[in-house]
C-alpha cells in the first residue's frame, strides 16, 4: 500500500534503514533543516525541563532503523549477569499527583530493597523517553522500570533493552507492539475502575429516584440526564474508563438515561469551562461522571459558578459528581462533602510492588506473575474518614 516505488506516490526522503546506515546527512536541505528546527523546537516545548538535555539534532527524525543498529555502545559482555544492580526508572511525566505518588513508591521500594535507582522523566515525549531508556541501557542498569509514554512507540526502547538482555517492567500503561518483550506489567484495571465509579453514580441516582439499583428492571425505569466528562480522548486510560462507564450506562441497561459527552482533557480549568455551559443548557443534569479527579474538581467549580453554593448531600437538586484516582484535592473535597466519591488507585503501592518484582528478577528469579493488577477501591465520605492517614492522598509527601 505505502510502497512509494511501486505506485509513484510521494517519495520518502528518509534514509531507508535496510539499504543505508542511519547516518545524519552532512548537508541538510532546506526542508530537512526546517524539520530539524521544528524537532528541536518540539523538544524544547515538550521536554521542558526534562533530564534529557544531551539530545538535539537526532531527535528531529525518530530513528527508523531496526533495533540492531540502534545500540551505539556495545553491550557489556554477558549482559544479563554482569550488569549492575542499579535500576533505571523512566517515567512519562510528573504532570499528575498520581505520578508523583508512583515515583514516591518506587523510591521507597528502592530504599527498602537496598537498590540504587536512576530516575529520568520524559515529560510526555515518546521520543525523549526512547533516548532516555537507551542511555540507561548504555550506562549498564540491571533493570528498567518504565511508564510508557506511548504504547506503540515504547516498543523501540523495549526492543533495545531486550537486545541487551535488560529486563523491562512497565507500570500503569502497557506496551502493545509485537516483538517487544516486557518482563512484568503492573497496573490498575482502568475498565474496572470506570465501572465501579459509574456503578456508584448509578446507585446514587436510583436511590434519589426511589429505585433499587440491584434490580435491572428498576434500573431500566430510571429517567435522568448524565454528563460523561472524558479525559484526553487519545489516552488509553480515558478509553478504558469510558468502557467501564458504558458497561453500566447504555441503551440496553439504562434506556431512560440521556448521556451528554464532553471532553475535559484531564484538566480542571478545561472541565470547568466546558461543563458550565452544558449545565446552563441542561439544568436537569443529575450526575457528572468524570474520568479523573482533575475533571471532578473542574466540575465542582462549574457547579459552584452556576449555583453559588453546594446543596446538601440528599437534596434532589444537587448535581452529583464522581471522579477517579483519589488525589489529594478530591479526597479533601469528599471530606468536605463537595463531591460524592472517587475510585482511589494506589500509586505508592504500585511503585513499591514494582520494585519488589524487580528485586526478584535481579536476584535471579522470576516475577510472581507477568501481569500484576494493583487494587483500587471506592472512597465516599465514609471511607475518606475511616481511611484517614492511610489513603495515598494522605501519604503523599510534599505539596501543601
Amino acid at each position: 500500500m505505502h510502497d512509494s516505488s511501486a505506485d509513484g506516490s510521494p517519495i520518502d526522503f528518509r534514509p531507508d534503514p535496510s539499504q543505508r546506515p542511519p547516518v545524519r546527512r552532512a548537508v541538510p536541505n532546506g526542508s530537512s533543516r526546517a524539520l530539524t528546527f521544528m524537532g528541536i523546537l518540539g523538544c524544547v516545548l515538550f521536554a521542558g525541563c526534562s533530564n534529557s538535555s544531551s539530545t538535539t539534532s537526532d531527535s528531529a527524525a525518530p530513528p527508523t532503523a531496526p533495533p540492531g543498529s540502534q545500540t551505539t555502545a556495545p553491550a557489556p559482555p554477558g549482559a544479563g549477569n554482569s550488569r549492575g544492580k542499579t535500576v533505571g526508572v523512566a517515567l512519562a511525566s510528573m504532570n499528575h499527583n498520581f505520578f508523583i505518588g508512583m515515583r514516591q513508591g518506587v523510591e521507597e521500594g528502592l530504599a527498602a530493597e537496598g537498590l540504587k535507582g536512576e530516575i529520568v522523566v520524559a515529560d510526555d515525549s515518546a521520543t525523549s523517553q526512547q533516548q532516555q531508556v537507551e542511555q540507561l541501557i548504555q550506562k549498564g542498569v540491571g533493570a528498567i522500570i518504565m511508564v510508557p509514554v506511548d504504547a506503540e512507540q515504547a516498543a523501540n526502547p523495549v526492543r533495545a533493552a531486550n537486545q541487551s538482555k535488560v529486563p523491562v517492567f512497565c507500570i500503569d500503561r502497557r506496551v502493545t507492539a509485537q516483538g517487544a518483550s516486557v518482563t512484568c506489567t503492573i497496573e490498575t484495571d482502568n475498565v474496572a475502575m470506570g465501572e465501579l465509579a459509574a456503578r456508584h453514580g448509578l446507585s446514587l441516582l436510583c436511590k434519589r429516584h426511589g429505585l433499587d439499583a440491584s434490580k435491572p428492571d428498576d434500573v431500566k425505569k430510571l429517567k435522568a440526564k448524565v454528563v460523561h466528562l472524558w479525559g484526553m480522548e487519545a489516552a488509553s486510560s480515558a478509553q478504558d474508563r469510558a468502557r467501564g462507564f458504558e458497561k453500566v450506562f447504555g441503551a440496553a441497561s439504562t434506556p431512560g438515561v440521556t448521556v451528554l459527552k464532553q471532553v475535559g482533557d484531564f484538566n480542571a480549568r478545561k472541565s470547568q469551562e466546558v461543563l458550565a455551559p452544558v449545565l446552563q443548557a441542561n439544568p436537569d443534569v443529575e450526575l457528572v461522571y468524570c474520568h479523573n479527579d482533575d475533571n471532578a474538581m473542574g466540575a465542582l467549580n462549574a457547579v459552584l459558578d452556576l449555583k453559588k453554593s453546594r446543596e446538601k448531600a440528599d437534596d434532589p437538586k444537587r448535581v452529583l459528581i464522581v471522579g477517579i484516582d483519589g488525589n489529594r484535592a478530591a479526597i479533601e473535597a469528599i471530606r468536605k462533602g463537595d463531591i460524592e466519591a472517587t475510585v482511589s488507585q494506589e500509586p505508592i503501592e504500585m511503585g513499591r510492588t514494582t520494585v519488589a518484582q524487580v528485586k526478584r528478577v535481579l536476584d535471579g528469579g522470576a516475577p510472581e506473575k507477568d501481569y500484576v493488577a494493583v487494587r483500587h477501591h471506592l472512597v465516599t465520605r465514609t471511607e475518606a474518614e475511616q481511611l484517614k492517614g492511610k489513603l495515598w492522598a494522605d501519604l503523599l509527601k510534599g505539596g501543601r
Binding site: 504532570n95 508523583i100 484538566n267 480549568r269 458550565a276 455551559p277 452544558v278 443548557a281 467549580n301 501543601r400
Partner: protein, 334 residues
C-alpha cells in the same frame, strides 16, 4: 510598508469604524444567532456571566499582546508566565507566610522583573522576540514545577481570589466584577494609544523603527515597555485566574494554548503581525468572538462534545474572521 504611521487606525479607529471591525462583528453576530437558534438558553445573562468569568484572563493577555504585536514583536511566554505568577503569589502566602497584599505586590514585582529582562533582551540586545519569549515560557514552566511540585494549592486568602470571584449586580443579575474591569482596561489602553504622546510613539516604533529612531524617539525604551506592560497584564490575568479556579492549579496553561489564543484574538481583531497597526476595539471583538465560540460549542451537544468537531469549527470561525478582514481591506484600498 512605506506609509507613515500617522494615518493608521489606532485604538479603535480615529476616523469612523475601521473596515476590519465590521467583518469581525458580522462573524460574531452570526455566531450568536446560530447558538441562540440551536440552544435558546444561550441568550441569557448567565452566558455573558460565564464568558466574562472564564475568558477574562486570556482577554487581559490579549490586551498586553496587542502592544507587543504593535511593536512588531510576539510573546509566547504569557500562558506559562501567568501560571508562574499564580504560584509566586499563592506560595508566598501559604509557604512564605507573607500577608496577601504583600504576595500580590511580590507577584507584580516579579512580573515587572521578567518583563524588563525580556524587553531588554529584545529591544536592547536585539535578540529575536520569538526565541527570548520561548525561553521565558520554558523557564516559567520549570520554575512553576519547582514552586508547586506540580500540586495545586488551595485554601487561598480572599484577597487573592477577589478579582476573579467577586460579583456585581447589574440589572438585577449577578455578573463577575471582570465585566466592568476588563472593558475599562481596554478603554484606558485605547485612550492611551490614541491620545498620548507615548502611545503614538509606540505606534511609530512599530511602523518604522528606523524612522522613529531618526525622529529622536527613545525606541529601545518604548519597545521594551511593551514587554513590561505585557508582563503586568500576565500578573493581572494570574490574579483573576486564581479566583476563577478557587485554587492555584499548575495545569491551567495546559490543554489549550493560552498564548496562541491570545495572539489569535489580537490578529483576528485586525492588528498587523508586522507591527505599526493595532486596534484595541478589534482585539476586544476578537476576544469576544473566541469566548462566545468556546462557551457556545459545549452547549450544542451531540458531536460538538468531541474535541475533533469542536476544533474544526474553531478553525472555520478563525478563518472566516480572517477572510472577511482581507475582503474588507481589499475593497477599501489605501
Amino acid at each position: 510598508m512605506g506609509r507613515s504611521f500617522e494615518g493608521r487606525p489606532v485604538g479603535g479607529g480615529g476616523r469612523g469604524v475601521p473596515a476590519t471591525l465590521i467583518g469581525i462583528a458580522c462573524v460574531l453576530l452570526g455566531l450568536v444567532v446560530v447558538f441562540s437558534v440551536v440552544q435558546p438558553r444561550f441568550l441569557s445573562p448567565t452566558t455573558l456571566s460565564l464568558i466574562f468569568r472564564y475568558y477574562s484572563p486570556v482577554s487581559v493577555l490579549a490586551l498586553g499582546m496587542t502592544f507587543v504585536i504593535l511593536v512588531a514583536g510576539i510573546d509566547l511566554s504569557v500562558g506559562f508566565l501567568m501560571v508562574l505568577l499564580m504560584f509566586v503569589m499563592a506560595t508566598a502566602v501559604t509557604k512564605g507566610g507573607i500577608p496577601p497584599v504583600g504576595a500580590l505586590l511580590l507577584g507584580l514585582v516579579s512580573a515587572v522583573v521578567v518583563g524588563v529582562a525580556s524587553g531588554a533582551a529584545i529591544a536592547v540586545a536585539r535578540m529575536p522576540p520569538f526565541i527570548v519569549t520561548l525561553a521565558v515560557m520554558v523557564g516559567a514552566n520549570g520554575a512553576t514545577l519547582l514552586l508547586s511540585g506540580n500540586q495545586s494549592v488551595g485554601n487561598l486568602p480572599p484577597e487573592l481570589l477577589a478579582l476573579g470571584s467577586s460579583e456585581v449586580q447589574l440589572l438585577g443579575h449577578p455578573f463577575p466584577l471582570t465585566i466592568l474591569l476588563v472593558p475599562a482596561l481596554y478603554a484606558g489602553a485605547a485612550l492611551f494609544l490614541r491620545r498620548t504622546r507615548s502611545g503614538r510613539a509606540l505606534v511609530a516604533v512599530g511602523a518604522n523603527r528606523e524612522a522613529a529612531r531618526l525622529s529622536g524617539l527613545p525606541i529601545r525604551r518604548l519597545e521594551a515597555s511593551a514587554y513590561v506592560f505585557m508582563a503586568i497584564c500576565c500578573w493581572l490575568a494570574a490574579w483573576i485566574q486564581l479566583g476563577v479556579n478557587r485554587t492555584a492549579d499548575p495545569k491551567v496553561a495546559l490543554s489549550d494554548s493560552l498564548e496562541l489564543n491570545a495572539i489569535a484574538m489580537v490578529v483576528i481583531g485586525g492588528t498587523s503581525l508586522s507591527g505599526g497597526r493595532a486596534t484595541l476595539a478589534g482585539t476586544a471583538l476578537g476576544a469576544l468572538l473566541l469566548a462566545v465560540l468556546f462557551n457556545g460549542l459545549p452547549m450544542l451537544g451531540g458531536q460538538f462534545g468531541d474535541t475533533s468537531w469542536r476544533k474544526l469549527v474553531q478553525a472555520a470561525v478563525i478563518l472566516a474572521g480572517a477572510c472577511l478582514d482581507v475582503i474588507q481591506r481589499r475593497s477599501r484600498p489605501g
